[in-house]
């Protein structure tokens, strides 16, 4: 077995572009999935059944099916059945956003439910509207409690972005696997891919631990 690691260095810019795509997908998905999660959580906690039921069905559906299948479904079914033509990137982003929104909504729901009832009662007694009570009193406290969980979700999302490679979005996983079949340096390319993911993910996992420790003692 002869190894030729120069092939990795040769394709460093392609791999860097793939890594940039992975980061871009992670950031964009989270930016969209936080408001999405808050919206879904608010719907699930609403007294109106008309809002509660669709939100519950949405969340259960996305939590109980694999993300890779959601990506396939969006990629093949949206154009053929609904005439929605999105780029691979937009399709991947859509599937990731809907999936992470469902998980975030559970996080926010738990966070909002953990704020004692007395707090919103007090806000209402002071003459706030129920929306004001939610926005000014409940939400800021809930956000602090959900931050560690969101950090964990962030790391999971960073890893899950690799699944959009199955629909040829040129993220790090797809780029490395393409280079593997083009250069035939299988071991070198796949090991480089794993190491780059490791180098990006390891600090994120450590920062998550740190956030968990810092927030643990609060309130």
């Amino acid at each position: 077995m002869t190894l030729d690691w120069s092939v990795v260095w040769e394709h460093r810019w392609a791999l860097a572009a793939g890594a940039a795509m992975t980061i871009q997908l992670t950031v964009l998905t989270m930016l969209l999935a936080v408001p999405g999660g808050i919206l879904l959580a608010a719907m699930r906690l609403s007294p109106l059944r008309l809002l509660r039921w669709p939100a519950t069905a949405f969340v259960e559906f996305f939590r109980c099916t694999p993300l890779v299948l959601q990506v396939y479904w969006a990629f093949y079914v949206l154009p053929s059945e609904f005439d929605v033509r999105l780029s691979g990137f937009a399709t991947g982003l859509l599937a990731l956003t809907l999936n992470v929104s469902a998980f975030n909504s559970e996080t926010f729901r738990a966070g909002i439910s953990s704020i004692r009832r007395g707090q919103s009662d007090a806000a209402l007694a002071m003459g706030m509207s129920s929306f004001q009570a939610f926005r000014i009193v409940v939400l800021p406290q809930a956000v602090k409690r959900v931050l560690p969980v969101l950090a964990t979700t962030w790391v999971a999302l960073f890893k899950d972005t690799s699944l959009v490679s199955v629909i040829a979005v040129s993220d790090l996983a797809y780029t490395a696997m393409q280079l593997r079949s083009r250069t035939f340096r299988i071991l070198e390319m796949l090991t480089a891919m794993a190491l780059i993911y490791w180098a990006m993910g390891y600090p994120q996992a450590k920062i998550t631990d740190w956030i968990h420790r810092r927030m643990a003692g609060r309130e």
């Binding site: 939590r63 099916t65 694999p66 299948l69 479904w73 093949y76 053929s80 891919m193 994120q204």
Partner: protein, 221 residues
């Protein structure tokens, strides 16, 4: 929308074979990752120092690398490195188990560490050996606390098994792909695959929710 259910119904035996593979891969991965994870978790808590450092490195690394990458590496790169070939199913079960075992190890550690120190002292004061202490005092309580998190890990494992389709494990997704290629009906076929996973995962998720409600708080001090 749904034109006819024929693409699914005509290929039902073929799709069913895929469902069986999915169930087998999931069950084997759950079993292997529990064994591996327990060993790694207990090793990290009670093992000698020379063992603890590599275990911490392994656990944190698996938190940083996507399971897809581990599966692909195990199937394509591992055989080159060690000169042995694996069937896709063996590679998938191995890779998923090694990946999920890291989170099981963390659950085990959190469970063991949640048992108050006073309990260990009391056990030792009664003349128990460390092994006895672990077996009779710590683990029975800790395992109860770990159960809900194990449930969540099992759900993750079943979902991860879907990713095995990228290395051509003939699971329900792989077989659905073949049927779509023949029938050009992605909507019916992929939706069927969705329903299959939902039918497997929804009951499991409900049981896990109940576990959290019923015994999640148990033994909390």
């Amino acid at each position: 929308m749904i034109e006819s259910l024929e693409p699914v119904l005509d290929n039902l035996p073929f799709l069913w074979a895929g469902i069986e593979t999915t169930l087998v891969v999931s069950a084997l991965s759950v079993a292997c990752s529990l064994v591996l994870g327990f060993a790694a978790g207990l090793g990290r808590c009670f093992g000698p120092a020379w063992l603890r450092l590599p275990l911490v490195f392994y656990i944190d690394s698996m938190r940083a690398i996507p399971v897809l990458v581990v599966i692909v590496w195990t199937f394509f790169a591992f055989p080159i490195l060690f000169g042995l070939t694996m069937t896709p199913i063996v590679a998938a079960v191995g890779a998923i188990s090694v990946h999920v075992a890291a989170s099981i190890a963390e659950i085990v550690r959190a469970g063991v560490e949640s048992i108050r120190q006073g309990q260990s002292w009391a056990g030792l004061a009664l003349g128990m050996s460390h092994a006895q202490l672990l077996r009779k005092v710590i683990l029975p309580q800790a395992v109860t606390r770990m159960l809900p998190s194990f449930g969540s890990a099992i759900i993750v494992t079943i979902k991860d098994s879907a990713i095995a389709s990228v290395i051509a494990v003939p699971d329900v997704i792989r077989h659905a792909e073949s049927v779509v290629a023949q029938t050009y009906r992605p909507f019916e076929v992929y939706s069927f695959a969705m329903l299959v996973f939902f039918a497997i995962l929804f009951p499991v998720a409900r049981v896990v929710d109940r576990l959290y409600l019923r015994i999640g708080h148990r033994g909390r001090s």
